[in-house]
Amino acid sequence: MTDPRTLSPLDLDTPDKTYLDANELVINMGPQHPATHGVLRVILRLDGEKVLGLECVIGYLHRGVEKIAENRTYTMFNPYVDRMDYVAAVSNGLGYCEAVEKLLSVEAPPRAQYIRVILTELNRIASHQLWLGTHALDIGAITPLFYTFRDREEILKIFEKYCGARLTTHAFRIGGLQYEAYDGFEKDVRNFVKFVRPKIDEYEELLTTNRIWLERTKGVGVISGKDCIALGVTGPVLRASGVKWDLRKAQPYANYKNFDFEIPVGLNGDTYDRYIVRMQEFRQSLRIIEQAVEGIPEGPIMAKVPKVMKPPVGEIYHSIEAPKGELGYFIVSDGSTQPYRVRVRPPSFVNLQALDLMCRNQLVADVIAVIGTLDIVLGEVDR
């Protein structure tokens, strides 16, 4: 047997002895397919129901975000990043703002940092809720979707009250925040934490010990920590494989080092572990939010940033822990008002690489489960 990793998935040159022997079926899944979370196209090579290999065809949602950045000033580009991972727009904004701040050598004031953390963690919960709903829907449980969407609504309401937008929030500015937290922001957040805690138990009640859920997710899409690192897979997928790597702890940004939280880690690297890890992340995020909302300091929300930003010549790579994994921004400045080059390291795109490895020798139905568990957003994959 050759190492499956060296085979091209669509290596159709293998002689098909007869029609029957070769019930190797090439099936095209997507780009219009209900379970690929957008416009992902997967070409599957099947032996009956067994997946021999697959190839992702991406780019259906390509908008040239990175190229657009070269023609916009630093401030003007800020809203564009919201459109990459549109279910976790706040995290995208945080990463970009922090990267530019690093380039400008400014730091957002503490109050801004705290509010940023609260909003980002709320966004992490919203993103995970959306993931949970769609993932469960793909596996056939239709009810969790409605539960998670009901609760995600509360988060979106807070976003809307804070900045007027629900999805593509554009909440942060380079150097801090534009808006002061509205009256009652803290109360809203506290109420939300109180509201959502039992709801997370409710999701777990529906799924965690459900026999069919266990059978569908245990041992499915297994990937080892080594393979994860080799493929650059990050985020909950990496942690579920037993690698304790979370940028919030490993290279703390914002002021995550001030908060007390744990990094949930899985053992087997299968779909179930990824599910459990994300369920725990809900709770950890709630912990962070609670601490942050208690400790919001008074003070300014905007650092001193020049009106026309002209960062010094140089380059910077800054990455944060987005809900889906490591979201990195590599910005090259030529000293003008516009970045010379912006390169985004989107977690979805990198994690998608692992799909082929995770699906080999699994069944077609597992491909759906694995796509769901990778938690990809095509806006981010294609940019």
Binding site: H33, G140, T143, R150, L206, N210, I212, W213, A365
Partner: protein
Amino acid sequence: MHDLINYITSYFGSNLTPGAAGNFFWATVYILLVFVGLSIAVIAMNWLERKILAHMQVRLGPMRVGPHGLLQPIADAIKLLLKEDIIPAEADQLVFWIAPFIVVLAAFTVFVVVPFGPTSAITDMNIGILFMLGVSSLSVLGIVTAGWASNSHYPLIGALRSSAQMVSYEVAMGLAVVSAILMTSLHGLGFYGVAASGDTGTLSMIEIVNAQMEQQTWFIFKFFPLGLIAFTIFAIAMVAETNRAPFDLPEAESELTAGFHTEYSGFRWSLFFLAEYSAMIAVSSIAVTLWLGGWLRPFPNALAGRTWDVIFSFFPGLTFLALGAITFYNVARMPRHPLFRIQTMGLAGFGAVLGLIGVVLLIPEISSHVQNVFWFSAKVAAFMYLYIWYRGTFPRYRFDQLMKVGWKVLLPTGLVLLILTAGVGMRDEIWDLLQRVTHS
């Protein structure tokens, strides 16, 4: 003319099903009644499934077409009938055309032997239960041909999955059924130690219920827990047999878009839909007949006597009255707005109809005739609720897991169960045999 009237009236007072009495007129009337009732049940089921599922999922479900979406199924039916009937160019026209009819025919024909009451069945066959199993297994043919005729990958895989699933689960289903049939001729145990009426068992649906009456126990409780296990096997297998959640792989939307009927649209698609729901009702009726005492009201023996009979005869009327009351409660909750006036009136009218039916059913003459059908339908309705509940709660099995459940869990359990049932039933004979062997 006189003969004709005589022929028609001769059936009154008969204690037979019209088919068994050989009365064509009444057999036709019963067939029409059953099929009209079935269509109404499918329509009601369509609405109820949406509403119940919606309320399980913290949403409202259809609310726009008619008050509380009551007219939604009718609107959907009109939409489906008006849609273009597309036959793909590469499809096998004839087979593509004929496949939905096979499925519908198989799903509807089984109702010929379903006993809604001791005389309220179209006919009673010597081989009733075998007929039901056999004819319902014919729908596999329709599904396979539908998938093949579409000449496309997804329907073909869906059809192969579906038929493999149905064929596999038929085996487990059959074993559970056989154990129930065995019980018709076996003496009970302990508390339910009532003798079976004869040496021979029966396959006739009506006789199976009569046997439960004579033995004073529903078969689900007979040889506890053997009857219960058989019922459980059947209850699992029947969900798989009708391709419903959590065994709805052939229609796994996330994987196969819509399974074997991907290429179908409009009227032909609605036939598949109709067949699916009537098949659900059909297998539920088998389960009710075999294990839950068919048309028998709860506790026909423990709570026997004139008083109890009268009390239980109020149930059909009271149920409809309660439904009417719920409707009127909702009428009171309707928004007081001129735009909602017609809807409110419609809902009130619906409630009035329900209440009227309830009042009519309270008349002793009518209730005594309708009781059996009511209890049977109530039990079947409980199964329908179960189907919806499953759909709201369970994720979907994977194909290999589904096969594993069928072949490695249900089948061995069914075999052991069958042997145990026979062993417990023949305990005296086995005991005699052992004594003879040890004494000689």
